[in-house]
Symmetry: C2
Amino acid sequence: MDDRPGVGRPTLETVARRARVSRQTVSNVLNSPHLVHPETRSRVERAIEVLRYRPHQAARSLRTHRSRLIGVRMEAFGDGINGSILDRFIHALTEVAEGHGYRVLVYTAADDASEIAAYEDLLGTHEIDAFILTSTHRADPRTAWLASRNTPFVTFGRPWDGTEHHSWVDVDGAAGTREATRRLCALGHQRIAFLGWPEGSGVGDDRRAGWEDALRGCGWDPAALVVAGPDGVDEGREGAHRLLDGAVPPTAFVCASDSLALGAIGALSDLGLVPGPDLPVIGFDDTAVARAIGLTSLAQPLGQAAQLCVNLMAALLGTDPDGTSTRPAHHLLRPELVVRATGLGGPPTGHPTATITSARTPTS
Amino acid sequence: MDDRPGVGRPTLETVARRARVSRQTVSNVLNSPHLVHPETRSRVERAIEVLRYRPHQAARSLRTHRSRLIGVRMEAFGDGINGSILDRFIHALTEVAEGHGYRVLVYTAADDASEIAAYEDLLGTHEIDAFILTSTHRADPRTAWLASRNTPFVTFGRPWDGTEHHSWVDVDGAAGTREATRRLCALGHQRIAFLGWPEGSGVGDDRRAGWEDALRGCGWDPAALVVAGPDGVDEGREGAHRLLDGAVPPTAFVCASDSLALGAIGALSDLGLVPGPDLPVIGFDDTAVARAIGLTSLAQPLGQAAQLCVNLMAALLGTDPDGTSTRPAHHLLRPELVVRATGLGGPPTGHPTATITSARTPTS
């Protein structure tokens, strides 16, 4: 519905022509702007602005057939702790999608390239209407690929390169670790350590940033209080030992995952220390393991996230009963701190069936 | 390829005509024989025998279009412990199915009736090639429905009514609890209790039967040593307390699930007792929680089960590279006893980050 004469509905092509770049470059600006030279990027952005180009509107008009199928990747199972929240997300997504008349097709992929190969296959074979992407990360080529094919998609996870050209829902990890750290500060803790992941993962950096921010706010230097490594219980245990043996032994642990937190609890047990109000340990994702062992953890509102993802998708596909919107929209949700036996002194909630003490193995 | 003149390929219709019953009755005999009067049943079985009727062969010949889509139900998430093994199964199934050129469509259903409604919708809208059913149970109407529509399916879970007319893969729960109980007997235990589910669930009765069998074998009466109730941590805790307070306090617990076992550990902690070689607790399903808390548990070989389900499905659909078989086939797999800190005295394996002692809540 462009009212300027001679222009018509803008496409990726017309934007590319006006900005004197390739289609791929326009697609990169939309989805992976870090790949594009700043000068080229602003030229393309001007063209998008002038032509009033809306990627998903183009996608909608191109598509006539509706399969009412949504594709979502099923991640590797991992240790059953950290990855389990994506299973919960897919459960919620399947239920919510059915309420909107959509079915969910799951697929696996070892990496971005094989996920893109899966898109190609799924669009060709099953005419998937839209994809919900999880585990967004820096320099994520998947969104650019989908945008360049005019395939509607929503990401659960923000685009970590700062682009805002597509619809996404995410959970504000930094807000969660900031709250947890501030509450520890308020209880008198200062040497609050962080067990995290290597720099460069959007989610990991975000969770670390909240802790760092709050720790500085309560007057302590974060530099000596952080260990970063791959996710896992053994890795968390080893990292916690390194900190506890170091120059600034922590009095509390905030962790990027429940797996790492479980490792920290193991390290404390090794030393005969009791996690709890005296030496709090706080995990992230509020997994079944956290509930089982009484671990304080930050819970992502996954049901709400799934609902919002489907709403945004329905808006892109024009099947939203509340009206259609082709404008990308974003929702950043707050995680909830669930206080249990391992931290913050509140009364245990959930199933605190066990408190964890020393690591002595029972002998017969 | 029927070589008798004038007979042609047998169908559900021809079987029904020959046995002088309705199509539905034939379908019931195939899938829910408990619903059919014994005399009618043997008449129908004779007709099946004489006509050499093969339900899935008929299904194959009727279907010309292949969607290469498999449907599988996504169960309610539950407490994240017991149900989590079905998530692991779907992960494995998705991966294995892709190796055979199939994609997996997931759906939810609140009960059998709504699952059947989902079949109807999915067959109509997405032309699903086959279904993999989970959570089979007594008087399961789903298999009869699918058979009556000539829709190929394989069940992960045997038909608990004793019918052998369709292909299935299952795990021998009784063999697992029998092995666990026998090993406890060999260590000198006699008052080995069982925390299970209410009678009537195939899986629950099966797991109980193995314990009962082994306990009688070591000369003890099971009657006073069993508590049955809904699955859950709180339920397990309550059940264990009832047994520990009773006339025959158990010296060991074998449980139908890790959730119940976690409850038993909680009950022991309440009383200041230490689960381990002195008072073993053994769960079922080897969940992430079992690994996290060092719970001995029986592990289902889910990867192998998924592989066999897809092989059987490929055989039914005639896409099996090793040749096509229309004969129903069955595989009963053995679970593996994974020994950790809570039982059988073996060295802890997995991630025994914590041993569980008394329930005192740390105070500041």
